[in-house]
Assembly symmetry: C2
Homo-oligomer: 135 residues x 2
């Protein structure tokens, strides 16, 4: 990981800092509602590596309950981010895979992750400083 690449693309400049509460902001809030929970990002991260079976996802994440994984996957499937393939074998086998749209989300997420990595130390410092001042 961490190879370097040059990327060129056209982007729409409709910043948060633009008009009032326009479509863009609302759209952003919807996405954050979907991925802002405790597990969704991790599941996407696992699936980004390729199709994976239910229990394999659970093991890969570690700490997620059976129930929460089901709910998370349902949510993603509902929004067309993942595709579910069930095989009527015995025992049953179900594979989950990122849809094209799901894969397209990985890139913006990586952008955000880059920011997160770069600023984590600073945040940590700010946080300690603030907490100290508050006694």
């Amino acid at each position: 990981m961490s190879t370097l690449k040059t990327e060129t693309r056209a982007v729409e400049i409709s910043s948060l800092s633009d008009g009032e509460d326009h479509s863009g902001c609302h759209a952003l809030l919807e996405v954050l509602d979907r991925i802002g929970d405790k597990w969704t990002v991790m599941v996407v991260g696992v699936l980004a590596k390729g199709p994976t079976r239910f229990n394999a996802i659970q093991r890969a994440i570690g700490g997620i309950s059976h129930r929460m994984l089901t709910r998370t996957l349902r949510g993603l499937e509902r929004d067309g981010m993942v595709e579910r393939r069930a095989f009527a074998t015995i025992p049953p086998k179900v594979e989950y895979e990122l849809s094209p749209m799901g894969r397209s989300l990985v890139s913006p997420l990586d952008t955000l992750m880059g920011w997160a990595q770069a600023h984590r130390p600073t945040i940590e410092v700010a946080r300690s400083g603030f907490d100290d001042r508050s006694d």
Copy 2:
């Protein structure tokens, strides 16, 4: 807004799809914890336009309670994303402004917002389809 521009830059490929639960993923989860709540993004959006007073923020957002705005601002201030300036006048006057780090967050957020806008229709369709199939 919505002019078109070509953007070239170097990006770090340390994708979600890389190794196991590395630093990056954890960092990303932390950020999402901070901005994934109901109001933080909107507050950042408002402050992105410039320094703003407490009540002005509240009016600009609309629907946020007094208490929630306080909590949201405290959280952002704690992490060094916003700076708070209090003037000991009567009546009191307090201004909030995005810190440099706070401003640097706007760009990745815009990236995500671009994705959100582009895919919202698709998501909407997928969602209705899924809900219909579920009866």
